[in-house]
């Protein structure tokens, strides 16, 4: 297999290094001595999948700390897929070059709604039936996890089971249980697994609909299956497993650097943010742990850059001493520290300068909306003054390029808010040009708002493609010189919205879209809206029912049975406050906001930085 690949297949494809494996720090375990064999399947290309932290964590976790085995597999690029199909090469893992059918569990990481067709394509390339009901005892269990699994229903036709929430504790437990139930028939096996906390087996629930198309009921079909599935939480992130020896890819991957996960969760409470709701509460790692992890990772990889990842890194209570310490310890070897998208308010001159001492990165800020009114609606607690101060500080210290993230199509948005974005950009440029010897580069990346499940905006309608296009045209006509605007494709956002709040009836649409030829829908060069339009027509499904229809509070939502810890009453209250333009503060700064996660999961906000004081 390997010989044929290297001789006959790989010389004919683009970027063959995607498919060779054998990277530094790869873990190849003894197949026969390992207990359960699982493959971690990422439904996108290698360079995207290898950038994903969750995958790095699970890979090290299972291979280093258990007797199970976890190998890797990514979606082959279409040129490779074509040759694999022609030559009859099944989808294989990069560690042992075994076909996916040799594994007991195939776990897909669900990071993005539109990776759906790639999942079907990968199953098909592996020779595994795409529908779960077609699989027999001979086939692997198909598992899904990751943020998109918080609304698993659109994917339920294709998966045997889902794991909801943090995987550090849940995955080893699941693999242990898979081994225990190994010899049971498939149905009984799934019934046993469905009783584990955090596990959802879609075939064990019966769904009925009202005449208006809305969900009427969703009930387990067996008394031992829970009515609600509770997400899993790692209570203590500081002692949780994190890899010191991540795989070092040969090719340049999207995030090609060492990564520290400084904390998990964010409770700033931006009302559009899915991750901010479902990964509560905030749990930090201690400075001591992070410094040790940085040393180990840099020593084991030789990376020239280390990134501080989280949903809002500037909110990490130890961010200043951490950055200072990392620069002091590793700066002399030319190792830079990267901060992903910065919170506008928490940004300080001090920190900017610490980072800049070694390596200048493009400054990225996310005001998200153009007017104070709309920023209050979405609870992005950033004032114009804070933004301008941050920008001024940055340009003063020598940045020449700034990128700002915005969204259009937010609830209550008017033309004034669109003008607000343009005015804000112009002011940023004016400030920059004042301090810089040459004109500064100001770029804005403008996304279309997609309401997500488990957020306060889960009841809100999404703008139609036509409305979004009008808004894009409006802004394009009014854009100013020296400012670059780039817009997300409103048709892509529409499909994201369809799946983000969809139900299990969408399985047919995903299947038909794939049959029509859809793969790599997240890649503009392969995105064909017409494949999806045709699929929707064939399945007889009106997408506006899912995308542009406002939901009532009384409606049973397809994801209500997933317990994220956040109460529906809190989400509703937040939605109502949004419409009144009232903000809600971070519970670390003010009183408890009553989201519900701490009491319902018996966990606490866990702050570990030096300035965290009493915590």
């Amino acid at each position: 297999m390997k010989d044929k690949l290297f001789r006959e297949i790989l010389p004919r494809v683009s970027k063959p290094i995607r498919y060779t494996g054998n990277e530094l720090n790869i873990i190849k375990k003894d197949w026969d001595k390992s207990r359960v064999k699982m493959v971690f399947a990422f439904p996108d290309v290698y360079e995207v999948g290898m950038s994903h932290i969750g995958g790095r964590i699970l890979y090290g976790l299972i291979n280093e700390t258990t007797d199970h085995v976890l190998e890797r597999c990514f979606a082959p690029w279409p040129d490779m897929e074509k040759i694999m199909r022609e030559e009859g090469i099944p989808l294989y893992s990069l560690e042992s070059y075994r076909p996916l059918t040799d594994f007991e569990v195939v776990g897909f990481s669900l990071q993005y709604e539109l990776s759906a067709t790639n999942i079907l394509n990968m199953l098909d390339l592996a020779g595994i039936p795409v529908f779960s009901h077609q699989r027999t005892d001979e086939h692997p269990l198909i598992l899904g996890g990751g943020p998109v699994a918080f609304n698993p229903e659109p994917f339920s036709d294709f998966f045997d089971l889902f794991m909801i929430g943090d995987g550090e504790e849940a995955l080893p437990e699941l693999l242990d249980e898979v081994e225990r139930v190994r010899n049971l028939p498939r149905k009984e096996k799934l019934l046993r697994l469905a009783q584990m906390e955090g596990i959802y087996v879609p075939s064990l629930y019966k769904v009925t609909y009202n005449s208006d198309g809305c969900l009427s009921s969703m009930e387990p079909v067996h008394p031992d299956v829970p009515g609600r599935v509770r997400k899993r939480i790692v209570a203590d992130l500081d002692t949780a497993y994190y890899p010191d020896k991540p795989i070092l890819p040969y090719m340049t991957v999207v995030h090609d650097r060492a990564v520290l996960e400084v904390m998990r969760g964010c409770q700033r409470g931006c009302r559009f943010c899915h991750a901010g709701m479902v990964y509560r509460p905030v749990r930090e790692r201690s400075l001591e742990t992070l410094r040790r992890q940085a040393r180990a990772q840099l020593g084991n990889t030789g990376y020239e850059e280390i990134s501080l990842a989280s949903l809002s890194t500037l909110d990490y209570t130890g961010v200043h001493p951490l950055v200072k310490g990392l620069v002091e310890e590793h700066g002399a070897q030319g190792v830079g520290v990267a901060l992903p998208s910065l919170r506008v308010d928490a940004f300080s001159i001090d920190l900017a300068n610490e980072v800049q001492k070694v390596r200048k990165t493009t400054l990225t800020l996310a005001p998200e909306a153009g007017t104070q009114r709309l920023r209050d609606v979405i609870n992005k607690n950033v004032s114009e003054q804070q933004l301008f101060e941050a920008v001024e500080a940055a340009f003063k210290s020598g940045w020449l390029s700034i990128k700002l993230y915005f969204m259009i199509g937010l609830p209550t948005e008017t033309e004034e808010d669109l003008d607000g974005i343009l005015n804000l950009l112009q002011e940023v440029k004016r400030i920059g040009d004042q301090y810089s010897p040459r004109p500064v580069e100001v770029r804005a990346s403008i996304a279309c708002f997609v309401p997500k499940a488990h957020t306060p905006f889960q009841w809100q309608p999404q703008d139609s493609i036509e409305v979004l296009q009008q808004k894009i045209n409006y802004m394009t006509r009014r854009r100013r010189k020296g400012i670059k605007l780039s817009f997300h494709d409103s048709r892509v956002s529409y499909l994201e919205g369809l799946i983000a709040r969809g139900d299990r009836r969408l399985g047919q649409v995903i299947y038909k879209a794939w049959q029509n030829g859809a793969v790599f829908d997240g890649w503009s060069e392969y995105f064909h809206f017409e494949y999806w339009q045709k699929a929707l027509a064939e399945a007889g499904i009106d997408p506006d029912f899912y995308v542009t229809r406002p939901r009532s509070y009384e409606e049973l939502l397809p994801w209500d049975f997933i317990d994220s810890g956040i109460s529906k009453a809190f989400l509703r209250h937040e939605n109502e406050k949004a419409l009144r333009g009232e903000t809600t503060l971070d519970c670390r700064l003010e009183d408890c906001t009553g989201c519900g996660v701490c009491p319902s999961f018996e966990v606490e906000v866990d702050l570990r930085g030096e300035i965290a004081g009493a915590h």
Partner: protein, 224 residues
């Protein structure tokens, strides 16, 4: 202190691009804690310069890079430390100090030797070799920048050598690289096919080495 290293890239790493190889070396230098020199400025990087590009798909026996050290160290130690951390398939063979003013590899190297592992009757392949050497001109469609234009490979082919190797033959071809005439390995493949070597008879291609050719004599970059 400026040094020049000769390294090999084995068949298992043949799909690395030049950039991939450079990153592999940089990261190995960091893991091995070699006292490399950094460039000045906001975006410091290791003062490492890679030699001529090894094409994706080929493995190489004698490839080169230059590196500047901030502190001198025994060069055998440097080689051993790097070899301890390099992935299987990549190996530093020799390291030599070079003059601070020595021309860069990209400027100095002007010849490469490519090896083709061929399974053919001896008579056929040896006739083909003689035919190549006898020809006054060997036009092949250019694969380089001037695509679609014919290029005469003859005056860029310096030497041929045919040796038996495990039921096959290893054909080595020394060709000009860089200025004035750059000959690519895929143009040589086209030439061999033109001369009657079926593509399935070519089992492997590698680069045997890079050379500095002066007055028809070949020198190793480690000598210059």
């Amino acid at each position: 202190m400026r040094i020049r290293a000769e390294y090999s890239i084995g068949p298992e790493l043949r799909f690395l691009s030049n950039l991939d190889t450079m990153h592999m070396m940089e990261r190995a230098l960091r893991r091995a804690k070699i006292p490399f020199a950094l460039t000045e400025g906001f975006n410091p990087h290791i003062r490492l310069s890679m030699g001529t590009v090894l094409p994706v798909g080929l493995w190489g026996k004698k490839e080169y890079f230059d590196l500047e050290l901030a502190q001198a160290m025994p060069l055998d130690e440097l080689r051993d430390k790097l070899n301890q951390v390099l992935p299987a398939g990549a190996r530093i063979e020799q390291v030599r100090p070079i003059d601070d003013n020595a021309p860069s590899l990209m400027k100095a190297v002007n010849c490469a030797a490519y090896g083709f592992l061929i399974r053919m009757p001896e008579e056929d392949i040896s006739n083909i070799c003689q035919n190549i050497l006898k020809s006054d001109s060997l036009p092949v469609r250019s694969r380089g920048k001037k695509k679609g234009v014919d290029k005469d490979l003859r005056r860029g082919i310096y030497k041929l050598d045919l040796q038996p190797s495990d039921e096959c033959f290893c054909l080595m071809i020394w060709v000009g690289t860089g200025e004035p005439l750059n000959i690519r390995y895929d143009e040589l493949l086209d030439l061999l096919q033109q001369q009657g070597v079926p593509s399935e008879a070519i089992l492997d291609v590698f680069r045997e080495g890079n050379y500095i050719r002066v007055n028809e004599r070949l020198y190793s970059p480690l000598e210059g």
